[in-house]
């Protein structure tokens, strides 16, 4: 009885397109790294030092990619491309974890990372086509008193644990709680992720994609929106507006 109920829930959520989404306008992204810094500050991301960061162990949850086109003097810098967890609807990282450490959230339709379940097989990161997962290669400590700035709403990760962008789920929950206590729905734009909030160019827009009225949905309707590696059927929830 209860079991059937659960199954139906799962079926439903599997068919849903997603709930929270993001639109990133690469044309106005200046690559200023404000989002990266904001993300690090909000989510207690540790810095890893020169050697490790140079060896691909930096733990940025969001990174800004840029490439080059052409040769000098006709060389062009491609539009900056902030790359973060795409919160896939059909995430390739989820099924491969033997410990259910990364699962699909029923409530938020997000791709959760459950730190305390993670045993560090790193299969999820290996299987992420976007390569946006960060692993705690060492126990990167923050010398006192730096730890005073740690955000109490976000778990501090220890060595051997995988982590990644959460769409600032702590902010989502906070907003939902507030809205609930005031007996209303969360209003579009009432809150936003750390990166979107910081972005000086306003290149990042975050909101409900299942609400046609929301700003993010309206932007997504625009023709020039692209979803990365969509061809893999990952159902990403981040839409990009290409530059130019």
């Amino acid at each position: 009885m209860a079991i059937e109920l659960k199954i139906s829930e799962v079926k439903m959520s599997a068919e849903q397109s997603g709930k929270w989404g993001m639109v990133i306008d690469q044309d106005i992204c200046t690559g200023c790294q404000a989002c990266v810094a904001a993300c690090a500050m909000e989510n207690n991301i540790s810095f890893v030092g020169e050697v490790d960061s140079g060896y691909g162990r930096s733990m940025h949850w969001i990174r800004i990619e840029r490439f080059w086109e052409g040769e000098y003097p006709e060389v062009k810098m491609t539009a900056n491309q902030p790359m973060l967890c795409q919160q896939c609807g059909h995430a390739t990282c989820e099924p491969v974890c033997p410990a259910f450490a990364t699962v699909h959230s029923q409530a938020e339709q997000l791709n959760l990372q459950v730190y305390n379940r993670c045993v560090g097989t790193r299969y999820c990161a290996n299987n992420c086509p976007y390569q946006v997962r960060a692993f705690n290669w060492r126990d990167y400590k923050r010398p006192e008193p730096l730890s005073n700035q740690l955000n109490p709403d976000v778990t501090v990760r220890r060595v051997g644990v995988m982590e990644k962008c959460t769409f600032c789920i702590q902010r989502i929950h906070k907003a939902q709680d507030v809205a609930k206590s005031e007996g209303r729905e969360v209003v579009d734009g009432e809150f936003t992720t750390a990166c979107a909030q910081a972005c000086p160019a306003n290149a990042i827009t975050f909101g409900r994609v299942d609400d046609p009225e929301s700003l993010v949905s309206q932007l997504m309707k625009q023709s020039h929106g692209v979803k990365h590696l969509e061809e893999l059927g990952t159902l990403p929830n981040v839409t990009y507006f290409k530059g130019g």
Binding site: T30, A37, R66, L146, G189, P200, Q218
Partner: protein
């Protein structure tokens, strides 16, 4: 689009909400500080898990962006932009975000210290990941410290006392200015590496030459259709990056008109140029003639008589000198001519040359040609901040040179340093460090153990900006006249004291005219005396019946600003009538390479002590934690250089060894090095990391007295040494290096 604005408005509201919490939490003038409580016993107004938000002002650079800081149980947790503040409308740059890493930096000066010059203020090799107590222990109390300041003030002749101050905070500058005015001590000198690289003096000088009176021009990028930028890296650190970035977004999003065109003339592709539709790798020194040539071609295209300003320039010559084909020049002129809202911005390296003033004038003249003065998408004079009668520009490099000379000559017996780190920021050739030796007593108010503090006799640490009161004048950016207010969001972490308080107390001790000059009980009272006049202002964002409430609002909203447009329209009657010389810049030193130092967009002048800023990849090269020299791959090949090879760069002023980054978007005859690293002090994260290009800079200035930092030529030689640069990008994936020979 309307939604976006509606959303922005909403954020404003949210901000107000946040700010409202602030007043509710009794952070009115009644309570000066929020105590940092243990998690067990919290202040009565904090609820477990509920955060308190305080509006204050960012001091990572002098722009004066408003911040709202989230605190919990007296700890600062997160910095957000203040949505009320017209300057940044709730946005922040990376440096602003990292402010907290300054507040909780593991190497801060923990209290007043009397120390012998050159002595360390923290242990050299502190582990960046372990909490090692690495700082010099305070060896005197504040009474003694205040006494020392008092003595310094009264035991010397006024002309023997000098104040060297940073670009922020303004309230302290005003306080010292008042003090100086009343007591006849030397007026405080302000300086900052950013202002040096922005060539502010040149900008206002050029404005004065063209428009009759000086001031800081404001370029309405957001409203323009076509933007020609001559070296102005306004998306990085230039003047007010956050508001200019917003402007750029406006230029691109352009809901009402076409997507704006943006063209950058720069010998090296900065991350600003990277966003340009066309990057013109112009030969350094030819900016002026190119601007003039474009002016001439535009006039031709418009079929009007060529104004006097552009008359004696020959586009053909220009094309050959600048490396921009004549056709391209004409094409660009066409773009400029056919636009109804064209804008030309002078800045950055273009002004930091021997003919920087000429460049600035020529580019401003282009605007005159575009007749965009005072028009949407045009050029204005920035709105003067409240309680500001005219634009006070910081000291130019030449003035700093004179200042240093006076110090060396022993003209000053006492030097107070606050908010600036001249030993690191000024060109090594200026040898500020040695000049300090000519000063009997150097008193530093440094919050962090920086190079200048190392060279001081006393270090009387000021609070971190998030622990401080104050205000900052917004000199450019918004249309309104804005005064960003600062208030402590947490109680001081260490035994530091507000410099204003120290000076006021010391003045009282010193007695006499000092006492009368600063008749305040403390900093806050001084602030209120400065804010009080604003109550009478019209069209203000808020008003209040009495000063207490007014000050409370001032703190809630994070400042005070007008609702009216305060931008002034330059008088352009004779802008185009002037004689303008298309002469090329002169370059100092022999050597085959133009040398372009630029301010690191993520680090700026004071970010190096914040580990997360160190770990932010540079927008153009994605290098972290280090300094690099950008060399065109072709040149590198000729010199037999590969990435990470260390090269020896020799200028007339000095020598520097820096690892190579083969940068595809820089002129083959030019090399560029970011400024911001290369500290010899300033915390475990900054010290001994990277190199300081200021070591290569000689003492050459442009007509306006700004440093010709881009006016040098240097030699490069291979050292055979290597140092791997840590980059976020993949050399394989981005440059195809190490993937095997091409398919």
């Amino acid at each position: 689009m309307s939604n976006k604005f509606s959303r922005r408005d909403f954020l404003k509201l949210a901000g107000v909400g946040a700010a409202t919490t602030a007043i509710l939490t009794g952070c009115g003038p009644a309570s000066r500080f929020v105590k940092r409580e243990p998690y067990m016993q919290m202040p009565e107004y904090t609820y477990n898990g509920l955060s308190t938000y305080y509006a204050t002002t960012c001091r990572e650079c002098a722009a004066g962006c408003g911040l709202v800081v989230r605190t919990s149980q007296g700890r600062a947790l997160k910095v957000e932009g203040n949505a009320n503040n017209p300057l940044n409308l709730g946005k922040t740059c990376a440096r602003g975000q990292a402010t907290l890493q300054g507040l909780y930096n593991p190497n801060r000066v923990r209290g007043p210290i009397k120390h012998t010059r050159g002595e360390r203020l923290y242990t050299a090799d502190a582990n960046p990941f372990q909490d090692e107590f690495a700082d010099a222990t305070p060896n005197m109390d504040w009474d003694a410290a205040t006494q020392a300041v008092a003595d310094a003030l009264k035991n010397h002749k006024p002309e023997e006392i000098a104040f060297l101050m940073g670009m922020a905070p303004d309230h302290l500058f005003d306080l010292v200015t008042d003090l100086a005015a009343a007591t006849g001590i030397n007026a405080p000198v302000r300086f900052g590496a950013l202002s040096m690289f922005e060539s502010r003096a040149t900008l206002s000088q050029a404005a004065e030459n063209l428009f009759g009176h000086g001031g800081l021009p404001l370029f309405d990028v957001g409203g323009a259709e076509v933007v020609f930028s001559f070296g102005a890296n306004f998306l990085e650190t230039w003047l007010s990056p956050v508001s200019y970035t917003r402007g750029f977004a406006g230029l691109r999003e352009a809901k009402t008109k076409q997507r704006g065109t943006f063209i950058q003339f720069e010998s090296r592709m900065s991350s600003t140029a990277g966003k340009a539709d066309e990057w013109m790798p112009i030969r350094p020194g030819t900016e002026a003639m190119v601007a003039l040539a474009i002016g001439k071609l535009v006039s031709d295209a418009r079929g009007i008589t060529v104004p006097h300003a552009f008359s004696d320039v020959d586009p053909v010559v220009v094309a050959s000198r600048s490396g921009i084909a004549l056709a391209t020049l004409q094409h660009l002129a066409g773009i400029f001519a056919n636009s109804t809202a064209a804008l030309a911005i002078p800045g950055g390296a273009a002004l930091g040359q021997s003919n920087g003033l000429a460049v600035a004038e020529a580019v401003l003249a282009l605007n005159a040609l575009a007749e965009n003065f005072g028009r949407h998408g045009g050029v204005f004079f920035s709105a003067l901040a409240p309680n500001q009668t005219e634009y006070q520009r910081p000291a130019s490099a030449r003035e700093m040179q004179e200042f240093a000379q006076k110090m060396a000559d022993g003209k000053f017996k006492v030097l107070f340093v606050h908010g600036v780190n001249p030993v690191f920021e000024l060109p090594a050739s200026l040898d500020f460090k040695n000049a300090l030796k000519g000063v009997e007593q150097v008193i530093s108010f440094a919050t962090f153990p920086d190079e200048t503090a190392f060279e001081s006799d006393y270090v009387f640490p000021d609070h971190h900006s998030l622990e401080s009161w104050g205000y900052q004048r917004v000199v450019t950016g918004p249309a309104q006249s804005v005064l960003s207010g600062a208030q402590p969001v947490v109680s001081p972490f260490y035994d530091t004291r507000a410099t204003a308080d120290v000076l006021i107390a010391a003045a009282q001790l010193a007695g006499g005219e000092f006492a009368t000059a600063l008749p305040f009980t403390d900093e806050v009272e001084f602030l209120r005396s400065k804010i009080a006049p604003l109550m009478e202002e019209k069209q203000s964002f808020f008003s209040a019946p009495d000063l207490n409430t007014f000050t409370a609002y001032f703190q809630q909203y994070g400042g005070w600003w007008k609702t009216s447009d305060g931008r002034r329209v330059p008088n352009t009657s004779n802008a185009l009538g002037r004689e303008m010389s298309p002469a090329e810049a002169k370059f100092a030193g022999e050597g085959e390479f133009f040398f372009v130092p630029f301010v690191s967009p993520t680090m700026a002048e004071a970010g190096a002590n914040k580990p997360w800023l160190q770990e932010l990849p540079d927008p153009t090269t994605t290098v972290m934690w280090n300094t690099w020299v950008e060399i065109n791959p072709v040149t590198a090949e000729e010199l037999g250089l590969l990435d990470d090879d260390i090269v020896k760069i020799t200028s007339e002023a000095g020598v520097l060894e820096v690892p190579v980054y083969r940068y595809p978007a820089i002129r083959p005859d030019t090399i560029a090095i970011p400024f911001g690293q290369g500290h010899t002090a300033y915390s475990r994260y900054a010290e001994g990391r990277g190199k300081n290009p200021a070591d290569l800079l000689g003492q050459h200035f442009n007509e306006a007295g700004d440093l010709a930092f881009a006016g040098m030529k240097v030699k490069i030689e291979k050292t055979g040494k290597q140092q791997p640069l840590s980059r976020l990008e993949s050399i394989m994936g981005v440059y195809g290096v190490g993937l095997g020979e091409e398919k």
